[in-house]
């Protein structure tokens, strides 16, 4: 990996190893099947709301593999949005926990049944609580990066993700501004997954900018738009950008063009759309062509994961739901001042 002081904008075109390609594929399949199971749970009444990232696996999986996970500012901080179950899987999360969050069981390790599907939170891995309001993560990201910047020799970076429509919120601009202050440029990898939609609103009428990444240029931020449907490109570009942020301790803005394969969420029906490229299908074709995987191996993989998820679903169905009185737990981290009445 480059350690030069010049920005690594075009990472070396080294081929990714067959092992890595298979791993990417496996995780993409796993990610897709997980989302399909979550949608099914919604349809079966095992959860009130589904939102997730089918169609973004080619971007989300490489991202998860490249993150330096751990607790505290020596590791990467993750300010994610709600379409990143595949990133979490790639980081090593157990899929059953996503089912628990979907069904809001007491056993949901992320929120204890309090928050929607896709709203992860893992302190051990620096995954800060994902929250529903669009774009607030971009306002918080500079804070963790300030902490990282001041560690001498530190290589931990802050990673923030969000959608295209959300960049209209002022917080996206705040992130660009705070990350590029001459007094203290920050190690933030600013990511935008552009699926061309905000719920029902198409990109076209709303965005005067050709590329969202162009918005970084005025601030002297290294900026790039990539094809988010190609996991090889995503892996290489993310690796290069991360290396730049880790070593230069400066921001990088990357926009990835991705697909939204099941519409916005269960609120819009979560039906499969036909007019968007499917990153998984495309990747599988290529792997087959290159002789790295056979159709049979792919089918076997799918069948295995599907069975595992089905089993997990069965298991989660038996798990307890949270008790009402627990709403008063964890309002404060020292004493429960609310329950005691202040």
């Amino acid at each position: 990996m480059s350690t030069s002081l010049r920005p690594v904008l075009s990472p070396p075109e080294t081929e990714l190893s067959p092992e890595l390609l298979r791993k990417l594929h496996e995780l993409m399949v796993k990610g897709r099947l997980l989302e399909e199971r979550l949608m099914q749970m919604y349809r079966q009444g095992d959860g009130y709301f589904w939102i997730g990232g089918p169609g973004e696996e080619a971007f989300n999986v490489p991202l998860g593999l490249l993150i330096e996970k751990g607790r505290g500012p020596q590791y990467d901080y993750c300010h994610f949005h709600y379409r990143q179950s595949a990133t979490l899987l790639a980081m090593g999360a157990d899929p059953i926990d996503s089912l628990r969050m979907m069904k809001n069981t007491a056993t949901d390790p992320y929120t204890g049944g309090r928050n929607f599907s896709g709203h992860y939170s893992i302190r051990e891995w620096n995954v800060v609580p994902i929250s529903s309001p669009i774009e607030v993560q971009y306002a918080m990201a500079p804070g963790t990066a300030i902490a990282q910047k001041r560690i001498a020799g530190g290589r931990g970076i802050t990673i923030v993700t969000g959608g295209d429509a959300g960049t209209a919120e002022g917080d996206f601009a705040s992130c660009l501004i705070w990350s590029s202050r001459p007094a203290n440029p920050l190690p933030v990898l600013i990511l935008v997954t552009n699926n061309k939609w905000g719920i029902s609103t198409h990109w076209q009428g709303q965005h005067g900018e050709k590329r969202i990444s162009d918005r970084g240029k005025a601030f002297g931020i290294e900026s790039k738009t990539i094809d988010g449907n190609d996991p090889e490109i995503c892996y290489r570009e993310l690796r290069g950008a991360m290396e730049y942020v880790r070593s230069e301790r400066r921001p990088f803005l990357m926009e990835a063009i991705v697909s939204r394969l099941y519409g916005h969420s269960s609120a819009s029906g979560a039906n499969r759309v036909n007019d968007e490229a499917d990153c998984l299908q495309g990747f599988e074709h290529r792997l087959e062509e290159r002789g790295l995987l056979t159709r049979a191996q792919i089918e076997e993989l799918r069948a295995r994961f599907a069975a595992e998820l089905q089993e997990a679903h069965r298991k989660v169905r038996q798990e307890p739901m949270p008790e009402g009185r627990t709403i008063f737990d964890h309002v404060f981290s020292d004493r429960d001042l609310v329950r005691e009445r202040p």
Partner: protein, 353 residues
């Protein structure tokens, strides 16, 4: 008979046809969706804004300054909290210009729990709205009230909040509570004004001929008369109060239930008249319980009617916790529900002076 969403849509149609509304806008408000709850389908002035609540409120004020009556939607009131400063600004334009400018605008936003909306999509907005001076604030609990209050908002020369209880959006009008001119048959109405599922770019609504109906601000509605105690509520909890009162009449507790409908100005006369008769007052809403609008009503009750009270007035409101949890059990425990309302009425009625 319409549900509340349909009633809102019909009111907005009348507003743009006859009352000069030029813009109905917000996130996903225009075609193809016509609003997260379909409240703005088929309206000719509806358009999709960027995903930017500050921009939405700012544009609404700007349009108001330019004399354009407009309805700006915040998709969920949960997402209005980054624009409280702009909302406050809208409420002070007339005052800070010493009466020179005014700013007609209606901020429409869904509020409250009841759809398993989790931490966001469950917020209330009444405490926040009532603390911002300069607004008229409406919150309907029936389709007809939604229709008449929204029309009052759009023709008002001042900024207005129109708060829509999410839990009541699909509830149909009671017989006798229809909007004049609407078809009695649900299916018939749906055919006229609900967009078809799927492809709808060629669809045009056929609006029934509904009249101007202005429900004045500051006029509450007594939903149920009663001699034993006064229950004041609005929004999602109002029908629950009415049901609780109904049930308790079997225990010979006769609760009077008042639907406030308008939170600013509010109908103090009606509250006072009732509490003078009953000597007992319960205020019910679902916003969190510290610094809550019901506490204002209770304070005024105590300040003005202290010697007529025969039991301590009470507030039943949401738990003071950071959000409403997703699991059913969590939502139930967070905000007033039929059992807790019933119990609150019963225990207040039974206090011996």
């Amino acid at each position: 008979m319409s549900n509340m969403v349909q009633a809102i849509r019909m009111a907005l149609h009348v507003a743009e046809e006859r009352h000069g509304v030029t813009d109905i806008f917000g996130e996903d408000v225009g075609p193809p969706l016509g609003g997260a709850f379909t409240a703005t389908q088929g309206l000719k002035t509806a358009w999709n804004s960027p995903l930017d609540e500050r921009g939405i409120v700012g544009a609404s004020i700007g349009l108001g300054l330019a004399g354009c009556r407009n309805v700006a939607e915040i998709q969920f009131c949960d997402y209005a909290f980054n624009a409280i400063d702009l909302l406050k600004l809208g409420g002070m334009i007339h005052w800070s210009s010493n009466g020179d400018w005014n700013c007609p605008m209606t901020i429409m936003t869904p509020v409250g729990s009841g759809i398993r909306g989790s931490i966001y999509h469950s917020h209330s907005f009444d405490a926040t709205a009532t603390h911002i001076p300069g607004y008229k604030i409406a919150i309907p609990s029936t389709p007809k009230d939604a229709y008449g209050l929204l029309l009052s908002c759009v023709v008002d020369p001042n900024p207005c909040f129109f708060l829509v209880p999410k839990a009541l959006m699909r509830v149909r009008a009671q017989p006798g509570e229809e909007i004049p001119g609407e078809p009695g048959d649900d299916k018939a109405l749906s055919k006229l004004i609900d967009a078809p599922l799927g492809e709808r770019s060629q669809w045009k609504p056929q609006w029934p001929d509904t009249p101007d109906l202005f429900i004045p601000f500051g006029e509450a509605r007594t939903v149920r008369p009663g001699r034993d105690l006064t229950v004041v509520s609005y929004g999602r909890t109002l029908p629950l109060c009415a049901r609780a009162a109904e049930e308790l009449s079997r225990e010979e507790i006769e609760a009077e239930v008042i639907d406030l409908r308008s939170l600013h100005p509010y109908d103090w006369e009606r509250i006072a008249e009732s509490v003078r008769r009953t000597g007992r007052a319960l205020f019910v809403n679902e916003d969190t319980e510290i610094t809550n609008f019901g506490e204002h009503l209770l304070r005024r009750t105590v300040e003005e009617l202290f010697y007529e009270l025969i039991a301590p007035p009470r507030l039943l409101a949401g738990a003071h916790v950071p959000g409403i949890g997703l699991a059913d059990s969590l939502e139930m425990a967070s905000v007033p529900q039929l059992p807790s309302i019933t119990e609150a009425i019963r225990s207040l009625a039974r206090i011996e002076p």
